[in-house]
């Protein structure tokens, strides 16, 4: 029984880690510029496709592929900000959300058009995945890597936000963006950094998603981002601790549903998870850890 609990807890952690990674990427952009970046999933997909390309042109070294995939995701995120989101930077949230939807739609179909509508095998990350037996508990090394990588990423992000100049500027910008500009810090620089970080986190997520699925298709990132989006809202949109909390909560909820629901209802897992989320939102419309917003009314 204890074994079972430990096993499921580890499952929940690794699920939650993935959602937390993606949710953090969404939250960091939202906290700075109020944009709900639905195209984040396609940044993840770019990570996946870049691995496919690198494998195809005979890169065998996994370090190169990992670094390359993260790099591709970062570049993609910065690129999207530059061409699609900069024009709607100061527009209302609905405009930003719909723009991001449009961008997501374009990219998904570009993958479909330029690569293939079908999944393409990418096996170069399989080496991360081997079974580990601890007594009667059986887990995958991937789960451990994923949880550790997420914790490490969170730790580095916290250090960056607390210690570095740009990090402090970004925290300031999430409170009062205009005041940061009035300190002489370029808006473009802060926002590009936010997108770069979100791309970095998406790239890490892409590596683990590919390692688990072994294939890339145009909707690779869409469903995970949908979940991460929900995690963000539950945690309190724009709050970074909220995104992490929401991510792990969602992971726990999913595993919990798989445990509780009878086998025949397994397919309905998402329906139940989303229903619970809706109920949480009714209870706390602003999310569990909603960020403080303080802005001057003038200027």
């Amino acid at each position: 029984m204890i074994d079972y609990v430990v096993q499921q807890t580890l499952n929940a952690l690794s699920f939650g880690a993935e959602y937390a990674l993606i949710a953090l990427g969404l939250a960091i952009v939202f906290s700075i510029m109020g944009l709900v970046n639905f195209a984040h999933g396609e940044v993840i997909a770019i990570g996946g496709y870049s691995m496919m390309v690198m494998a195809a042109i005979a890169f065998k070294n996994p370090i190169i592929i990992i670094v390359g995939a993260i790099f591709a995701a970062v570049i993609m995120a910065i690129f999207l900000e530059r061409i699609a989101f900069r024009p709607v930077r100061y527009a209302d949230a609905t405009t930003g959300l719909l723009t991001a939807f449009g961008v997501s739609l374009i990219l998904q179909n570009l993958f479909l058009l330029l690569v293939s509508p079908r999944p393409i095998a990418v096996t170069s990350m399989y080496f991360l995945d081997w079974p580990i037996k601890l007594g009667t508990i059986r887990i995958s090394s991937l789960q451990i890597f994923e949880t550790l990588a997420t914790l490490l990423a969170i730790l580095l992000l916290v250090l960056f936000l607390k210690r570095s100049f740009l990090g402090i500027a970004m925290r300031a910008a999430s409170l009062d963006f205009e005041m940061v500009r009035l300190m002489g810090i370029r808006a473009n620089r802060v926002i590009a950094t936010a997108f770069a970080i979100s791309g970095l986190l998406a790239g890490i997520a892409a590596i683990f998603i590919i390692a688990r699925r072994g294939a890339v298709d145009p909707t690779l990132g869409f469903n995970p981002v949908l979940k991460a989006f929900v995690a963000c809202v539950v945690g309190g949109f724009g709050s970074l601790p909220g995104a992490v909390l929401g991510g792990f909560l969602l992971g726990a909820l999913e595993v919990g549903m798989l445990v509780i629901l009878p086998q025949s209802y397994g397919g309905m897992k998402d329906a139940f998870v989303f229903a619970v989320i809706a109920i949480i939102l009714v209870w706390r419309p602003e999310g569990i850890l909603s960020p403080q917003k303080e802005k001057g009314d003038k200027i």
């Binding site: 709900v36 699609a84 024009p87 709607v88 527009a91 949230a93 609905t94 405009t95 959300l97 719909l98 723009t99 939807f101 449009g102 961008v103 997501s104 739609l105 374009i106 990219l107 998904q108 179909n109 570009l110 993958f111 479909l112 058009l113 509508p117 145009p218 949908l226 989006f229 929900v230 809202v233 949109f237 209802y265 397919g267 309905m268 998402d270 329906a271 989303f274 229903a275 989320i277 809706a278 939102l281 009714v282 419309p285 602003e286 999310g287």
Partner: protein, 347 residues
């Protein structure tokens, strides 16, 4: 109870809806008289989409909250009507394991439609109770949750909905003429709602929630009204869909349809009924062209490659370009009768 604040808003709504109805009827009649058989089906589907876009407009256009669950309500409307109206012999075959005796009764088309409207409307009301309490992004997330929940129920409860497989044997009740009439009725409903005192108060409150609240406008109730009315129109669109095509499946009631109809509404301009109609017409025709290119046609001796995904790119591009260049859509707040009737100039 007074529905309109002034007779002027009633006149505007009436003439605007009449003009749009005229356009809609004209297009339909041209197709009925001159169209090929396969055109009829396409045009019918376009009218169904018009109903969806109008249903979406009633909530989104008046509250400025992005709704992404509309295709789910359309699906509910379609499935509920289909389950009621399909003959018992067919249901015994297609839904042998249906619970609650769903495969032991059949109703006439009108009763089925009414049951579908009532049930879907009730579900809209219930979900609305949640939606209207949330602001902006929270509300949008819950609409996504609704879409995902409904879709996974459709996909998973194959004993009732058949999931990915076709739910077949629905008698054909409607033809193109019927849906033209229904579209016209819905245009009037949506336009009258927009100009009604509730619609005006709602639009005012979407601009400035706090001051509308201070003026004693009950935003929650008004939003709930718009949401439920939208839900009913969406249910109606689903019924029309099922009553013509004869077979339905869960796939079309998900994200791709959500995006398609959303693009239609955004292109025209979600704040106006004229915009909703124009957007639907433009995207419908535009997409036919793009789909033609998608198949890899030969034009002027040039063989184009097959380009799957082109229509999705086009839709996405429409959304992005409109948002960047003109986020009120092509017509913004404009309504068609303003071509003929001079209205007060807005600042």
């Amino acid at each position: 109870m007074k529905i309109f604040q002034s007779s002027k808003s009633f006149h505007q709504a009436f003439w605007g809806a009449t003009l749009l109805s005229f356009i809609i009827a004209l297009i339909g009649l041209l197709v009925i008289f001159f169209g090929e058989r396969y055109h009829l089906r396409l045009v019918y589907a376009a009218y169904v989409n018009l109903l969806v876009v109008l249903g979406l407009q009633v909530f989104m256009g008046n509250t400025n909250i992005t709704n992404l669950s509309h295709s789910a309500f359309m699906g509910l409307g379609a499935y509920i009507a289909a389950i009621c109206v399909t003959p018992v012999q067919i249901k015994k075959l297609s839904l042998p394991d249906a619970p609650w005796g769903l495969n032991t009764f059949e109703l006439d088309a009108l009763s089925s439609a009414l049951i579908s409207l009532t049930l879907t409307g009730f579900l809209a009301f219930l979900t609305g109770l949640v939606i209207v309490r949330l602001s902006g992004i929270g509300a949008t997330i819950v609409t996504i949750a609704i879409l995902v929940i409904v879709h996974s129920i459709f996909m998973h409860r194959t004993d009732i909905f058949k999931g990915k497989q076709a739910f077949f044997g629905i008698p054909q009740v409607f033809d193109l003429t019927s849906i033209i009439i229904i579209s016209i009725a819905v245009i009037f409903i949506a336009r009258f709602f927009r100009e009604s005192k509730w619609g005006i108060q709602l639009r005012a409150s979407s601009d400035d929630e706090k001051s509308a609240d201070a003026m004693g406008v009950n935003i929650f109730k008004l939003r709930l009204l718009a949401w439920t009315l939208g839900g009913l129109i969406l249910a109606l669109s689903g019924i029309c869909y099922a009553y013509y095509l004869g077979t339905i499946s869960a796939r079309p009631f998900y994200f791709s349809h959500v995006f398609l109809t959303l693009a239609m509404l955004i292109l025209g301009g979600m704040r106006s009924i004229t915009g909703a109609v124009i957007g639907t017409i433009l995207i419908t025709f535009g997409l036919e062209g793009v789909r033609f290119m998608e198949t890899g046609p030969v034009i002027l001796g040039l063989k184009f490659p097959e380009m799957l995904g082109l229509s999705g790119i086009a839709l996405g591009a429409v959304i992005v370009i409109i948002m960047v260049v003109r986020n009120g859509g092509l017509v913004g707040n404009f309504e068609i009768e303003q071509v003929f009737i001079k209205t007060r100039k807005k600042i």
